[in-house]
Amino acid sequence: MQNILKELEAGSLDRPKRLKAAKKEGKKIIEYIGNFVPEEMIYAAGAEPYLMCRGGEPEPPDAVLEYMLRFMNPYARSLAGYHMLGLDPVTPVADLIVAQQLDCHIGRISEVMEYMELPIYKVGVPPDWKKDYTFDYYHKALLKLKDKLEKETGNEITEDKLLEEVKASNAINERLRKIDALRENTECPIGGTDFIKLNHYSFFNDTEYMVEALDKLIEKLETEEPKFAKGTPRILFAGHIVAVGDYVVPRLIEENGGFIAADFLDEGIRWYNWDVPVEGDIIKNIAETKFLVKTPVTLFQPAWRERVDYVMKLVEEKKIDAVVWYQLAFDEIYDMECTILAKNLGEAGIPFLKLESSYEYSREAMGPLRTRIESFIEAVKEAK
């Protein structure tokens, strides 16, 4: 199993090199920010997509402070920060950066990037999602994106090509769901940290290769020794995003006696529970799946009733013992949601821990973080 994970990791790390080679061959490189930008459309345009989602290091968020308010979340700041520090190998060669416009953090960071003369293209996502005309707005935004991609690449996005990419994406989702299902048993060979990483690898490895690798992995997992013992507290890991490279918190949970048995994150993870239907108008199907069908992201309004209900459902179905809320510093809407969730879980008697990160994982910061996680898991174990 470890070999497959390592291969997938190597494939992810090698992605910038492959993109540069593809660029030399005349392919367009298109970066994108956020799950409301369909990767499938970029593939269908014959371009190479690259998800901008790095995080977990303190320097990149600080690099933008010359231009930007410090009370912005560190993930958004990192998007421009890595480029400003010369640590982003892909952005300098990107032909287009497609950024979803849903929240202020990404909105303003997109403007920093425009000021830096990066080729930003915006896809508007109205948060008041329960109105016919806001769905139309997002649907039209995707149709405009199609035109933009076609113009940029010189390739037509045909229904057939798009259908093929949607099917490939659904195939990855299906395999991730199978692996996710293994987590229903605590004596599981794979933990939540690796599961989140698998999601990340799926963004950076070619889809066909990814499907094959996941098939092999599933086969291996069937015979693999459990990584977690019976009775290990089952944790629901929820929040905004685990960025690529920001693995400290999930790792500490699983190193200190917890098992991330389920996750509920808005970004940096595939929405693997929601396949895009393959019959009919595919762009409309993509828009409907992301905008109307999937459990709303926290920025949507209304969202919190449905999100609390979804968390409660996960708690029950996945036999969750405790919830860890992972929040980024100054992420104001997630901070508000945390209060709501804490109240609801508290009333249901589910232990809840809020952890916040500014991507500062110095030795001084790690000690208290580890202690908090250790004692929380100890307390959950005792209560079981």
Binding site: E66, Y67, M68, L69, R70, F71, M72, Q101, L102, D103, C104, H105, G107, R108, E111, V112, E114, Y115, I120, Y121, K122, V123, G124, V125, P126, P127, D128, K131, Y133, T134, Y137, A141, L299, Q301, P302, A303, W304, R305, V308, A329, F330, D331, E332, I333, D335, M336, T339, I340, A342, K343
Partner: protein, 473 residues
Amino acid sequence: MNRDVCVEYLKYLAFTDEQIEEFMPKFEYAIPVLGLTEQDLRFSMDEWLPQNFDMQYEGVKKLMGATLRETVDIAYTTEYKKQGVKIVYGILPAIQTNYTAIKEAGGDGVFVSFADHWLLCGLQYLFHKVDPCLEKAEEEGMTYGCRHCALNKTRIGGYRKGMMAAPDVIWAWGFNCDEGPKTDEYINMLYGEGEWPHVISRLPHDTHWGEKDDEMVDRIEFLAKELKDGQREIEEIIGIEVKPEHMQRAVANCQRRAFKAGSLVQLVCKSNPQVLGANALTMFCNIFALPMNAGLEYFEDAVDTMLREGRKAMKEGVGVIEKDAPKLGCYFVPYAVPWIDRIFRDNGVAMTFSTVLTPNKKMMQAPSFEEPFMATAEQWLRMPIGQNMRYEIDSMIDKAKSNNVDGMVMGFFDFDRWLGAHQKMCAKIIEKETGIPHFYMESDFWEDRDYSPQALKTRIESICQVIKMRLEQ
């Protein structure tokens, strides 16, 4: 509460005897609701207002009086509700047009105001006492460390402390920040669903660098649809029909008030010595932006009075700072923390206009559309805060040049992930393009718990020194 102190206070704010008699019952009702004491009134009229505002003007006194009227009316909403009056709130960054149209339609049967703004202003602007509201919201989950907006905290804390009733509906225009509209959902989720009925209108920030937001017809149409749909929902909830003539009257009134605000800004910026301080000037400019239930006609009277007094002072060569003092423009003069303006003046530099609340040339033009929702949508998108950064910068450059300032101060919005996020960058770009020096101050527009006078004094002093040195060169 000693009634004489109340009378004295109202007289200080230019209430006539007749007005005092009429207003007193509500005032006496509101004082304990707002947590005010005799000491607070004394502090306000003996120290806070005279130290920080140009109280020699009748216009400024009336401005304070109009603010007090609105705050008191908000404290009275519980009673209004009992009487069957429908309560409608709104939040920034909405403009007054649709809300005043609702008021036009509903008359005394409907209460319409931006309750959080006016409650915060009443408590902070007049008495420097909004902290208990903020602390209440923080105690109940709006964490201190996350830098949430004081306005949203006032909405939560004010409601929880009984200073304002739950509305029949609040209409939140979430066209700038995310937290404003989400606060209503938050209140509902925390304190009981259905407790805080709200209608939300949103607009994605998806125009590109330099595109003209107010000239993009599809954008105006989408926004108009949001406004029309929002208003329809409000009408259904409160059972009051807003007819086209109400909207047309509201648009015309808003245009008239914008013109008056623009005239006052021009007067102050042209005057030498400067005839009025920036914290009062900016507050006056709210006349074309914010709806009020009780205060709007008094507010307009205050502006008219101030225009007369300002012209007279200009003619007589009388000002609030010495002649030829350097002038600074500001992104948004923090009127709820009025001592900032005072410290600038103590250092011989005058703050003047706010780019946010100064109508630009386009805002003073007649709308391009007759249909009232299209006209309102266009009007909103003409405001710099409704635009992408580059387009907003063009408007800021225009204002900085036309108002002939020696420098600009940015900042004071560290809690706002939209209006506060870009100001450092705007400062850099405008300074580079115009040569006008720009200064950034990290601070809070609404409250001063984090940034005390001691903390900001050094920064202000150094800004003033730099400005003076540049002028001497």
